[in-house]
């Protein structure tokens, strides 16, 4: 029995298909659902945690059907939503104790101390949350989720808005939980985090799984080297032997090749002939970003949120 199993899980909001026939199985691992804003990550988590009824398909958590056996499903999971929700008028200890009581854990006081200690909050445990930083609040939410030792932990963007050090700590905690045998289902749109810390990754785009596998497998689907070219003017996809087009992101076009050094001049030539101006070229190893770009296909512009425009806007502000 897998910890999480979904079959053709689908959810419509009106006419909008937020999650489109998702079929997944996750067991004893850190699984990351990776995708851009609005790709359906939160919607998936809401259905798996019984907060939202699927339009179609089915899902189970620890063998219990999310629609028919809601209470059993909720007994086996903990869920930390995307938006932080901790009571700022209560202390850290009170917040965790509150959840311990709701879960009805035995020896609550000891479990609370333990959970606070794991999240390194012991010395601030009796301060009001009002005085906590964002990273501390996130760790507190994790402590709340962990008081009852769930078999499956759902974390919706656990590291959003945190600095690099705090993100790393959260991930170390998540890894430690995984070692204890917990199944962790996280969503994120940070490719590097998924790459570094997760056992398996599902890339989701517009509600569909576009690629699924371990980060290493996914990267191995590309050839050994990735060449990124900054171009100006029009770019038409072109065919060069031994070089494969990956995708385009703004003015950056990516290719992969088995031997990048040899491919560089060939590519420069071909691009020049096709009439576009090459500003710079760089050679590196594939990352999940490239996998993403290839899987999701030629996204003309990152949907909804245009980073380049945003950057220009920021520059104008200064």
């Amino acid at each position: 029995m897998n910890a999480i199993e979904t079959t053709d899980l689908t959810r419509y909001y009106g006419a909008l298909c937020a999650v489109d026939h998702l079929t997944l199985s996750v067991n004893n691992e850190i699984f990351a659902l990776l995708g851009p804003n609005g790709s359906g990550k939160t919607t998936t988590v809401l259905m798996l945690t019984t907060l939202l009824t699927p339009t179609e398909g089915s899902a189970s958590v620890c063998g219990h059907d999310v629609m028919r056996e809601g209470e059993l499903v909720r007994k086996s999971l903990s869920y930390v939503p995307q938006d932080m929700a901790v009571d700022i008028k209560l202390t850290g200890r009170e917040n965790v104790r509150f959840f311990a009581d709701l879960y009805g854990v035995p020896h609550a006081a000891d479990r609370v101390d333990e959970a606070l200690a794991v999240m390194e909050l012991t010395d601030r445990a009796d301060d009001l949350i009002r005085t906590y930083s964002g990273g501390m609040r996130r760790r507190l939410e994790l402590a709340q989720a962990l008081v009852h030792e769930p078999s499956v932990l759902f974390l919706d963007e656990p590291t959003i808005g945190l600095d690099v050090a705090a993100r790393k700590r959260i991930w170390e905690h998540i890894r430690a939980l995984r070692k204890k045998g917990m199944t962790v289902f996280v969503t994120t749109h940070y490719m590097d985090e998924a790459d570094q810390f997760c056992d398996r990754v599902g890339i989701i785009s517009r509600g569909r799984i576009a690629a699924l596998g371990t980060p290493a497998e996914l990267k191995a689907r590309l050839m050994k080297d990735v060449i990124t070219v900054k171009v100006e003017g029009s770019f038409a996809p072109l065919e060069v032997d031994g070089i494969a087009f990956v995708g385009r992101n703004g003015d950056e076009v990516s290719f992969t090749a088995e031997n990048g050094r040899e491919a560089l001049p060939l590519l420069a030539d071909a691009l020049g002939k096709s009439g576009c101006v090459v500003r710079s070229m760089s050679l590196r190893e594939p990352t999940l970003d490239d996998v993403f770009l290839q899987a999701v296909g030629q996204q003309e512009e990152p949907q909804g949120f245009e980073y380049n425009k945003f950057r220009i806007m920021l520059r104008r502000r200064k």
């Binding site: 907060l51 209560l90 709701l102 879960y103």
Partner: protein
């Protein structure tokens, strides 16, 4: 049961830590008592303060109950509700916890109003009469808070909840028997007042203060509260976001 106590404890702790809110909810009913109860020249009774006190007590409970619905609204907006709904704790205990907190808070507030009324000259009653009064107020509090909390579950945001609150609280109060007996009301108002659930609570408390036992109004209140509670519990068990 565990869940109910935990949810209620959380709300009480938060309430006691926000000192301003503890006082501010009392300003309105206290003002009514003092400025209307003491100052209004009326002919139909010699002691208007004694007449209006039951109305003000119920009004205090009404506004405590209606403003209590905002608690669930905030839990929803701030994302707490999502976390609670994902817990194995029965979902109906969210509702029951809210009802007990809101009603408990209302009873504390009505006690303060009662003390103020006594201080400015209302007649002291017997312990049994106070016991009955509290029972009626509790029943009414459960009715209003269950209703308000369930409405909040369905409204979009806090603004629409605030609009709902103002839209129903004033009309309910003015079309009840709070301010005058049915005998001096114009007949159209008397008809509405007889249908208003607020009137049943007020009439019941008034009967108690006059030394009687209000079997009729209490029965109506019991049935109404039971029915509303059953519906609201059902709604909460089924809720999804």
């Amino acid at each position: 049961m565990n869940g109910v106590v935990s949810y209620m404890k959380r709300d009480f702790t938060k309430w006691f830590r926000g000192r301003v809110a503890v006082i501010s909810a009392l300003i309105m009913p206290a003002a009514w008592l003092i400025f209307v109860g003491l100052a209004l020249p009326v002919q139909f009774t010699g002691n208007y303060l004694d007449f209006i006190t039951p109305g003000i007590l119920v009004m205090t409970m009404l506004s405590a109950g209606l403003s209590g619905g905002a608690l669930l609204m905030f839990d929803k907006i701030l994302g707490f509700l999502n976390r609670f709904l994902a817990l194995p704790t029965p979902r109906s205990s969210i509702l029951v916890g809210k009802i007990l907190f809101i009603t408990g808070r209302g009873l504390i507030q009505t006690t303060i109003i009662l003390v103020i009324a006594l201080l400015i000259g209302a007649t002291l009653l017997s312990p049994v009469q106070y016991g009955l009064t509290y029972f009626i107020l509790f029943l009414f509090g459960v009715l209003i808070s269950a209703f308000a909390t369930t409405i909040a579950l369905y409204l979009e945001d806090h603004d629409s909840y605030a609009a709902f609150n103002t839209m129903i609280s004033m009309p309910l109060f003015f079309t009840s028997s709070a301010l005058m007996p049915y005998s001096v009301m114009p007949s159209w108002l008397a008809t509405i007042a007889h249908l208003n659930p607020l009137s049943y609570a007020i009439d019941a408390v008034r009967d108690v203060t006059a030394g009687g036992f209000p079997a009729g109004p209490v029965l109506v209140l019991l049935i109404l509260t039971g029915a509303v509670l059953a519906i609201c519990m059902h709604v909460f068990r089924k809720v999804t976001v």
